[in-house]
């Protein structure tokens, strides 16, 4: 074979190959459908019991409660969807195939992350009939629905990136979901520290919290650039950590 006939594939093509395969796995596998079904089922139940409830509420509050409930359920979904991304490759011995390909570790991690996130986005978007019911029967704006879903997608990206990192450092999927879940819980609960710590350190904790300050505006229909940047930063940070973890494998046994 001559050098002219082979080259490093474009990053986009390589990413596309892995994303296509991974999405195929999610859509063909039982586990993908089980996770999606459970997320939608629990979201639907919470919508009826918590968001709609029996007491009278403003439509905007019902919608905000729906996004609050959906965000909690979706985080579980993201953690379980992402646990397999790298850990499964390691368990099944297929990681050398990816590491021996013409893709960088960063591209492999990005492709894996994108596949889980795209599946998550599809899964979350299916729940849109619930906000649309509120839209039809109550008084909420499309902008509020859009804002809530943007928040869900961004929060989902952050939790998926955390799960990808867990999967990159763990030897098994169970350990991966425990690591990803633990980091997510710590980042969720850090707002509690913000309430007991005074001064600028308390502010830092408050700003770090995954849900409290940054998701609440989305669920109330407000889109703010700092909140978008926060979720993008968390996503990028954990993807870089995952890439570094994968790269370090080339130096260790």
């Amino acid at each position: 074979m001559t050098e002219a006939t082979m080259s490093r594939p474009g990053a986009a093509r390589g990413l596309g190959l892995i994303v296509k395969r991974e999405l195929g796995v999610y859509f063909r596998s039982r586990s993908g459908y089980i996770i999606a079904s459970l997320v939608l089922l629990v979201t639907g139940l919470l919508f009826n019991v918590d968001a709609v409830g029996s007491s009278s509420k403003y439509s905007a509050d019902v919608l905000a409660d729906f996004f609050k409930d959906a965000s909690g359920v979706m985080m579980f979904g993201a953690a379980f969807l992402s646990m397999r991304l790298i850990a499964e490759e390691r368990q099944s011995g297929t990681l050398p195939l990816l590491l021996g390909s013409s893709l960088t570790e960063g591209e492999i991690i990005l492709a894996k992350f994108l596949s889980a996130w795209v599946f998550l986005v599809v899964m979350i978007t299916i729940s849109v009939y619930m906000p649309l019911l509120i839209f039809v029967r109550g008084k909420v704006s499309i902008g509020h629905i859009f804002s809530g879903y943007l928040g869900l997608y961004l929060l989902g990206a952050a939790v998926t990136a955390i799960g990808t990192f867990g999967s990159a450092i763990a030897k098994s999927q169970v350990v991966a979901v425990i690591i990803g879940g633990a980091i997510t819980v710590v980042l969720l609960l850090v707002w509690m520290l913000a309430r007991v710590v005074d001064g600028s350190l308390g502010d830092v904790f408050g700003q770090l919290a995954l849900w409290d300050k940054h998701f609440t505006p989305f669920m109330r229909g407000t889109i703010a650039l700092p909140d978008i940047l926060y979720y993008l930063s968390i996503t990028a940070f954990f993807l870089v950590l995952a890439r570094n973890s994968l790269e370090s494998r080339r130096w260790s046994s």
């Binding site: 082979m6 594939p9 190959l17 011995g93 590491l99």
Partner: protein, 310 residues
């Protein structure tokens, strides 16, 4: 041509491969021999670009693997000890995916997959899910993914592990056929097989290259083989021991069992052919029920080079 220069690998403070240098000519099939923990797999993984050496240089067709690892990966095909297979995919789908992942466009990948299916005798199973294949066929798919992108160097780590005798014969033919397009470096625990499949052997011990050459040159260089036979004799144990002690054909022996006059003995012999020993034992009046070699020449040489005990 593949050249490894002063390859060294530390895992934390433990040196697994030390100052290892060798070269492999184009279209040569070279076997990597060594005991477990000798550094074979570490070396193969470094050559495959999956592991970075602590120091040293790897050159493939004049290009430095460590300087441009991404650009070099398509020149290498690697079959790890456990074949990397996506079991949910069909053989054809998996091979096409593997080829595209290494930079082949769709058209070339489809053509090359067809060729590789022929080479590895997998055409009949092309559309079968990999999960339904037997161990032997999975191993073939593993080799197919290592060659599908037409690399210059094919590295096979224990390719005959777990295969039955018939599959080993088929695998030997397949490995020999790879030389038409590739340089092959393989490791194996099966000494007979590695000798039959390879043009040349590299013997590694404690991460160092102990020696290299053909089986014949290695055996000659290291003072010939130490040969041993297992013998089952009918007779009195003391008489047998007395005879064996006096025989000039024997350098040592060990009685392994004595069941009412049926005596199993392991005997180290000086001559390459054990017929003389058989004749001498029969002429001494013992019944000879069994005589079989227990070490091949390669095994003897290997044991001597690696310092292992038989």
């Amino acid at each position: 041509m593949i050249r490894a220069e002063a390859l060294t690998k530390f895992y934390e403070h433990k040196c697994v491969v030390r100052d290892l240098s060798f070269s492999i000519q184009e279209r040569e099939i070279v076997g990597f021999l060594g005991l477990n923990g000798a550094g074979k797999t570490t070396t193969l993984r470094m050559l495959a670009g999956l592991l970075m050496p602590s120091s040293g240089r790897i050159e493939i067709d004049g290009h430095d693997l460590l300087e441009k690892p991404l650009e070099m990966r398509w020149r290498i095909g690697f079959l790890p000890e456990r074949p990397p297979l996506y079991e949910d995919m069909s053989v054809r789908g998996f091979l096409a995916f593997s080829a595209q992942l290494r930079g082949m466009d769709d058209t070339k990948a489809a053509r090359r997959v067809g060729e590789v299916l022929e080479t590895t005798a997998l055409s009949e199973y092309a559309d079968a899910p990999i999960s339904t294949l037997s161990h032997g066929f999975r191993q073939r798919v593993g080799i197919a993914q290592a060659i599908v992108h037409d690399p210059a160097l094919v590295i096979l780590d224990e390719p005959i592990n777990g295969l039955d005798p018939a599959q080993i014969v088929e695998m030997r033919k397949l490995i020999r056929s790879l030389r038409e397009r590739h340089t092959v470096l393989l490791s194996s625990h099966n000494l007979t097989e590695i000798s039959a499949s390879c043009d040349r052997l590299l013997v590694i011990k404690d991460g160092n290259l102990v020696d290299e050459g053909t089986e014949a040159t290695l055996s000659a260089k290291h003072g010939g083989a130490r040969r041993a036979v297992m013998v089952t004799l009918i007779g009195n144990r003391k008489a047998i021991e007395g005879k064996l002690t006096q025989s000039a054909l024997i350098t040592g022996f060990e009685v392994r069992a004595d069941n009412d006059g049926v005596v199993d003995v392991r005997i180290d012999i000086t001559e390459p052919k054990p017929e003389s020993l058989a004749r001498e034992l029969i002429e001494a009046g013992f019944g000879l029920r069994r005589l079989e070699p227990v070490t091949s020449e390669l095994e003897s040489t290997f044991l001597r080079l690696t310092g292992a005990k038989s």
